[in-house]
Amino acid sequence: MLLHIGAFQLDADSQRSSPWHQLAPRTRLLCALLFVFATALTPQGRWWTWAIYALGLAILMGLSRITLPILLRRVATEFTFIAVVLLGTLFRQGGTVLWRWQGLQITTVGLMVLGSVATKALMCLLMLNLLVLTTSVPALLHALAALRTPPLLVAIFAAMYRYIGVLVEEFNTMRRAAASRNLTSGSRQQRLVVGNMIGGLFIRTYERGERIHQAMLARGYTGLPPGAEVTAASRQDRIALTLMTLLLLLGQAVYLWF
């Protein structure tokens, strides 16, 4: 399933025009990051804060005119992975015991924590997927560079993005080569071969990395990627950031003052 990553388009909705799309990619990234951090750092059980954030998120989803089915499908896939981890937060001490079976017990606190963490995870996933759906990966990388992410880190991300397709292609070639010589006998045999393929892929990747580095050196690479040019922020960008900050502060204020 993972191996079909080259076939689908990450930024399915990046070519639309909407107020959200008019923002500079770095503003979108910054908004998303602010939202994710504010959501994740809110203490457990503050439902009203998340309700306000969810309202903001819903407005944003409407504004950015994304394709909802794609967004939901992706969030659903990712959430199943997170759900496995989340289950662990359910069984804990504290509060009233609601259900008990041998060593396991479900308490009110456990339910509250599970609900809080699940809400946080879901909202963060929605926000990040919205960002990735509407912003192409090269634009995101530029945004990271513009936000002063260490350039080497951005270069590593860029190379990962560039070469994932090449790696998938190489793996598929090896798999086809094995299949064309009748690799069908027994699942044990198959596992063995796939293991060897992954090992082979690792070595090939290493060698390719060396050749890429040589090619980079040949074009005057000195160890640090050249910096990206940053355009000035427009009025829209400033308004968007202000609105996002206001929303986040409003969410927190609910529990401070009421």
């Binding site: 990966v137 860029a158 090619a215 050196l217 040949a218 074009r219 005057g220 690479y221 050249p226």
Partner: protein
């Protein structure tokens, strides 16, 4: 423009495992020459190419590029002087979009803004890529021929005086190969082309260097060596296809008619 952009004297190179890849190479290249470097697999072609812009440093002997010896302190200038196009464009195009990849070299030279855009566009036009269509294309979705052009544009954008290509026609379909040959013929740069494609060597290069087991065994006119079948076979090469047959199509056959007496009677 220098009269002798590259001079190599007594260059030898051995790999860490002791394999001698190059032995006593002496070579002088003149401005605007187009030179083919041919030889069997493992004859040291690629190793020699990597020396031209200081990816490998000479172990013994000396390489002068422009006026500078290839030494660590001159590497930047040497790499701006000699552009190296690698065999597999996937190794060379490492940025996500075409535009970013082509601007990588000039950025390393310190260009930015309009000057950078001008350089990159100029290089893209030179290889026949329309910047409007290709600039934002994803590098992994290009065809083999397009990738090759992007790789060459990325090097041309640095405005080198010498262009070094490793197997430029490998994995190209006939039309892309022909377009590439036209492109190289029309580029007014000094060019060094390592290749197994002897038809390419014949089309493009007036001078040929034959490497065999790390040594230069021939350095001279391309046509002369391509006619010497014994010599080529001794060094694991073959005459170009266009030489091996007198003619391929009936209408190209020699004009002389067979003698009437030799025709069969019926």
């Amino acid at each position: 423009m220098h009269h002798n952009p590259i001079t190599i004297t007594h260059l030898s190179y051995a790999y860490p495992d002791g394999t001698e890849a190059l032995r006593n190479i002496n070579l002088s290249i003149h401005a605007s020459e187009k030179i083919a470097i041919v030889g069997a697999n493992g004859s040291g072609k690629s190793t020699l190419l990597l020396h031209f812009n200081g990816i490998l440093l000479p172990q013994t002997g000396e390489i002068i590029v422009g006026e500078l010896p290839v030494e660590p302190r001159h590497l930047k200038a040497v790499r701006n002087f000699v552009g190296l196009v690698f065999q597999n464009p996937d190794d060379q195009i490492f940025m996500p979009t075409v535009w970013e990849d082509i601007t990588f070299g000039p950025r390393n030279q310190g260009l930015s803004g309009a000057a950078l855009a001008h350089r990159a566009e100029h290089a893209m036009y030179a290889v026949g890529l329309n910047p409007e269509h290709y600039a934002s294309r994803n590098a992994s979705n290009l065809s083999g021929g397009e990738k090759k052009r992007v790789a060459i544009a990325g090097v041309l954008a640095m405005q080198p005086q010498v262009l070094v290509l490793d197997e430029p026609t490998a994995q190209l379909d006939p039309r892309s190969r022909r377009q590439l040959i036209y492109l190289l013929q029309n580029l007014p740069l000094t060019q060094l082309v390592a290749t197994h494609d002897l038809d390419l060597a014949l089309d493009l290069c007036s001078r040929t260097i034959v490497l065999s087991q790390g040594e230069i065994v021939y350095d001279g006119s391309t046509e002369a060596v391509m006619n010497d079948q014994d010599f080529l076979e001794r060094h694991a090469l073959e005459r170009p296809l266009c030489y091996t047959r007198p003619y391929c199509q009936l209408e190209h056959r020699p004009l002389e008619q067979p003698h009437p007496a030799s025709l069969p009677h019926w």
